[in-house]
């Protein structure tokens, strides 16, 4: 396997795409919102409750992993903190510059080279922002 190929699709991303930790519609939640990518029909729905986020995602590995890593990263955070993280995330995938504040989310930094795939990773974040009424 060439290194270039696995740079973006690294173990962490593939693992979360294959077996997400935060997938599934919770029995109860306070907010939810849906996002769709018109280019491919991929969909994500996020559920917020109890300072936790869960998601139901149908899409590519980048979308699935991004949704799951997002759910992990925002657990226990305030809306303001989420919004800050969201901004940092967008900047990171646009520029390819990793950011210590983003932790595991930095696994998606390779996306900056794939402009049309950036949307796959930011879609869950957009849905979350909508759910939080931002």
């Amino acid at each position: 396997m060439s290194e270039e190929m696995t740079q973006l699709y690294q173990e962490l991303i593939m693992a979360r795409a294959r077996s997400p930790h935060f997938a599934g519609r919770p029995a109860a939640f306070e907010h939810h919102a849906q996002g769709e990518n018109p280019v491919c029909g991929d969909q994500v729905e996020v559920f917020v409750g109890n300072a936790q986020v869960r998601h139901e995602s149908r899409g590519c590995a980048i979308l699935l992993a991004s949704a799951d890593l997002m759910a992990e990263a925002v657990a226990g955070k305030t809306a303001a903190e989420v919004s800050e993280l969201h901004a940092a995330f967008e900047q990171m995938v646009e520029t390819g510059q990793t950011n210590p504040a983003l932790g595991d989310l930095n696994a998606l930094a390779g996306l900056w080279e794939y402009r049309s795939r950036i949307r796959c990773a930011t879609l869950p974040w957009a849905a979350l922002a909508q759910a939080l009424g931002a």
């Binding site: 396997m1 270039e4 699709y9 593939m14 491919c40 029909g41």
Partner: protein, 414 residues
Amino acid sequence: MSAALQAGAFDVERIRQDFPILTRTVHGKKLVFLDSAASAQKPRAVIDAMAHCMEAQYANVHRGLHFMSERTSEAYEAVRDKVAGLINAASRDEIVFTRNGTESINLVAHSFGRALLKAGDAVVVSEMEHHANLVPWQMLRDAHGVELRIVKITDSGEVDFASLEAQFADGKVKLLAITHMSNVLGSYTPAERLCAFAHARGAKILLDGAQAIVHRRVDVQVIGADFYVFSGHKLYGPTGIGVLYARREILEDMPPFLGGGDMINSVSYTHSSWARPPHRFEAGTPAIIETIGLGAAIDYVEAIGFDAIAAHERALTEHALNMLADVPGLSVLGRAQDRGGVISFVMQDIHAHDIATLLDRQGIAVRAGHHCAEPLMGRLGVSSTARASFGVYTTRAEIDALKSGLLRVQQVFR
């Protein structure tokens, strides 16, 4: 003179030398360009013709009396003859230049649709249309009250004639607008049979030849088409130029679409009268340089010959279908008998976007998505597909590279 033009037989390696971009690398890998159905690469002859126009013989057309304008007008109008020759139109006046196939269809939807169809008439399209041959008819439906009907395709990706019969049964259908080759499934539709079918029922027929024109000789008179549309950029020509063919009597009856210079006979405030076709439909300064580029592209493919092109692409497609059959978990969509060099596929548990990105990393360009055919995706039960498509410059080795590339993608997802 291009290498291909000198070659006696079809020699893909010599043809490749005509396309400068094919020597490029992508992510340090040799470019394997399997996205020609979206837009083809350009041979040196096209690039040179456009550059030559701008360097040596350029001015606005039609309205100038001076040397540069006269010569440019001649070169521009000569391409109309070339296009007429390419598709064997009965007259050069049946060839209208547009921006692309999409605009050609919109022109028909506006000028023919609004003036010659009436509320209550029906237009039929198929389940495998590109949005370009669906959305304009939806817009006509919504603005003008015609009915839009959908003819089914079979599971193999072919027109379902029983469904077609049913759609035409009440005699309301006045236009069948249908693809000549699907940009997703690769299926050719039986154009002659469809034309005869429509005409026998008093309907006109528009064939969307955006894909079909690239792979085979098209003869609009043999086919019996009323309208035939295509884009220059898929036929190895530049962007910004498309073609509408329409039978002369129909064009004569159609009011203009866009208004402006060059499409008028005379203008006064109360009343303007229109030029005769085709100029009636070419308002404003046309895509002069691009039309000249299209002329060079037509010369180029004609010099190779459509028999040779079709044979090459048939062999490639067969090879590709064999190769892909060996990739575990891969399914090709559509199994039409009559097909061209476009293959869509899906892979178990791997999203088409991930396939495209991981192939790109290996220098292999394929397309992924709904291919501007969302309703067809629904019919096929998928949200997107990966698509490999071939041109005159595509080699067996590139198809082998696609196969190994796909196997490597599977390893990442293992």
